[in-house]
């Protein structure tokens, strides 16, 4: 065989590019289908949610992580383990609220936006809004209602990408009657 050399492209890196590009194709399609950015944001969040509720199972099965004791531990698991595992980046956790129920994830580089430039007419589009849905959906499956939103985005000229997460409440488990 002749052309063996030179073909050792990093397959893991390629795989993340596959994800990035596919995501790009999805956003493009959504922008075609919907007239305004708000609708696109909503749809991305919804799809993210659907992914999150399933991704959490994959995550729990593979990471061997038990129930988190408090929101701080949750934050650590999300940033250091989950983001690392699925997107290959480790955001930093900062800006804790005094009550400890709110924090920010700071992403220095967001893998979803690797090849992206926002055109001027999409100023209200939250390109990576899928992530919010994923986080919300995943946490809901472990009995945590959380509010997730982007507060800064490098795509719109901010220095970093910031995801703000706010704990709302613990979801009570609905045990069937008569069960302990």
């Amino acid at each position: 065989m002749s052309r063996q050399s030179n073909r050792t492209a990093d397959s893991k890196k390629m795989n993340s590019e596959l994800f990035t590009l596919t995501y790009g194709a999805l956003v493009t399609q959504l922008c075609k289908d919907y007239e305004n950015d708000e609708e696109v944001n909503k749809q991305l969040d919804k799809m993210g949610y659907n992914i999150g509720v399933r991704l959490i199972e994959d995550f729990l099965a593979r990471s061997n992580i038990g129930r988190c004791q408090d929101f701080r531990e949750t934050a650590d698991v999300i940033a250091k383990i989950a983001f690392k595992m699925y997107l290959g980046v480790t955001p930093s956790v900062t800006n804790w609220s005094p009550a400890g129920d709110e924090f920010s994830l700071i992403l220095e580089n967001n893998p979803l936006v690797d090849f992206v430039e926002l055109p001027d007419n999409h100023s209200t589009l939250i390109y990576s809004n899928l992530l919010c849905g994923v986080l919300r959906g995943a946490l809901e499956m472990v009995q945590m209602a959380v509010d997730v939103k982007f507060t800064q985005d490098t795509l719109r000229g901010d220095n970093v990408t910031e995801i703000r997460m706010k704990f709302i409440k613990r979801i009570e488990e609905n045990l069937p009657a008569g069960d302990e």
Binding site: N6, R7, K12, N15, L18, A25, L26, I51, F115
Partner: protein, 159 residues
Amino acid sequence: MADEAPFQFLHNELIQYIYSSADNTAAENGRNITKLENMGFRVGQGLIERLTKDMSRFKDELDVMKFICKDFWTCVFKKQIDNLRTNHQGIYVLQDNKFRLLSNLSAGKQYLEHAPKYLAFTCGLVRGALCSLGVKSIVTAEVSVMPSCKFQVMIQKMS
């Protein structure tokens, strides 16, 4: 280092989304397949640009197809195509005995009617990749028993 789970879940959502917006008439179904195929096409074009940027030129059409079966497939699906066949007149059949996007779905004939929508994106992916390498083609897929499937590539002669 990114995991493959996000891509699989995203791909599922893509299909869900495309199909949720439409009714199930045959014409609409065809349009949905085309939409998925077009998205794959664009992704395939982008991927191949990144993948081949440090490579030497391909000798001929067969060389290109071998590249798709080995390197391209490995990058996207973590395995090679299991069998490549050709009639030497521009038709190639790529067989994958355990296709990633179907392997979580079923191992047999259950859900067979849903298989085509899980293949459309990949057909586009291959067509896009080939297009960027200067080979115009039509790519179709067929499944008889999941999770194995065959992609048929028909090369369009440039006139």
